[in-house]
Symmetry: C2
Subunit: 326 residues, 2 copies
Amino acid sequence: MAGGITTAELVAGVSNAGALGTIGAGYMDDIKLKKEIQKVKQLTEKPFAVNIFALNLESFSSDVQVMQNHLNKYRKVLGINPGKEVIRIHDYMEEKIHVIIEEDVPIVSTAFHVLPSSLMERLKKPERKLIGMATTLEEAKMLEAAGYDMIVAQGYEAGGHRGTFDIEKHPNGADITLIPLLQSLVSHINLPIIAAGGINTKEQVNGLLEMGASGVQLGTKFLLAKEAGTNKSYRQALLKAGITDTVITKAFSGRPARGIHNQFIEQMEKANIHTNPFPIQNELTKDIRAAGAKIGNTALQSLWAGQGVGELKKETTVEEIIYSLI
Amino acid sequence: MAGGITTAELVAGVSNAGALGTIGAGYMDDIKLKKEIQKVKQLTEKPFAVNIFALNLESFSSDVQVMQNHLNKYRKVLGINPGKEVIRIHDYMEEKIHVIIEEDVPIVSTAFHVLPSSLMERLKKPERKLIGMATTLEEAKMLEAAGYDMIVAQGYEAGGHRGTFDIEKHPNGADITLIPLLQSLVSHINLPIIAAGGINTKEQVNGLLEMGASGVQLGTKFLLAKEAGTNKSYRQALLKAGITDTVITKAFSGRPARGIHNQFIEQMEKANIHTNPFPIQNELTKDIRAAGAKIGNTALQSLWAGQGVGELKKETTVEEIIYSLI
């Protein structure tokens, strides 16, 4: 989970409790990543992972004025500066790979695609495990062929960004739910498969292991851990949300992602403006989301959550979450 | 499964093998239903169920010409008569309830809503069990309040019609997948919950029981049973389909339903014509689907299937299917 949610305390807490904590480094630069890794190392001696986006995010766009006009209405209300006319994004990918190697991080997970072979080669060594994420069998086969060691099966119920590789082919991301996706990957891929999407309970974990998963991955439930960086209004929205309150939207980032439905999503749909591609759209909405979070306005934040959110009714600690699952 | 798939041999075969066979009577009239019940009774002494639509389907529409113009292109190619200008539908609901009582059918299941209380009262007796179907917690609560005895949790991965009650609120049906839906229903409903959607294997059955399901319901896998009424070209499409080949569409019936993507769905989307409401749209496309099935053209049939279809690779018998699950 990127965007300030995975604090060092959360990551180390998960690892200390016997699971695998992950630094969500997708949006970080290398300096921030190095700092986070060092903080986590101070808090745990257990293995932890770093998650990066397996996409070239270097981008430049001057074709953003229509979207900025829509977004400037929010900025006016929030009392922040109008949006820029040109967006430039640096992804610090090479630099982050360098930090991961330098800091000898034992597990690296990726989302959105297969890492380019040049980066795979640099990361790959016997003591380091690479975890890819797939939303279809086709994607899992690509990850296996590229030399990944494990694969996360991300079901349609999962919160946050859909990991789907080909967004032109699947404009809302692939919609395969966890049970059939898991069956397909377990049957056709010769790697351990980690089940992800909508998981809250020990019974679900045991059931998924019974279905062939080698492990499980949880996101949404950890948003309510005391150690997570989730802001207060986001936490309240999570506690309030019902099972039918999440939707898949491109409004915030330009890539389909599952979150709690709110006014920002609704008004983007009504305005009927094409969202810019990821990560341009993400950059465009960043200041609004930050300002929304600052004043506790849930209508102007991306409230990523999976369908399991309907059954999350209290804040807790990382340790309690892990122990409740095993 | 309605529409000629659930032959008496399939229903009785399922019951004889120790599970619960169901006559899909949604589109039948009372005379056909009585005949089917009597055929099943000749083939098994075990309990079986009748499934009906808990909707008033009595309808009349003269506002169908735009759709008929689109559909007449297919009819011309198929060499069948142009479509009618007025559609009238009788649902024989009262009459079918009468037959169910007369034939003393022990289990009645319904889809699409809660049965009207007048019909509930007529059906309800200690020896007869009523099974409702829900795609959200809200629907399950309505079924529980109305006096149903068990509830099917229909996940988003399930094939055929989405059971969602309020199609205006959820135009494509609710998209809650089986794992979170099951958690929600098991936690908040004091009735046995039957899991449905994407189920193919014993491991999945055991996993779902572990998650709190009291039973499971399968559809798609039985389409490939030798005893099913599935036509040959439909069977071939099922055997060929991959995990990402199903979509939710209103093209065939006016209600969202999951099936294998084909030309009919694609061309309806491209034509950008509003589908008529259920069951008018269903009646409109009926002759085309029948003619498509007759000549083995899968582009002109509704190929209902759940997301589990990607892992179905052989035809088999009802007995083999049931025994493979326990």
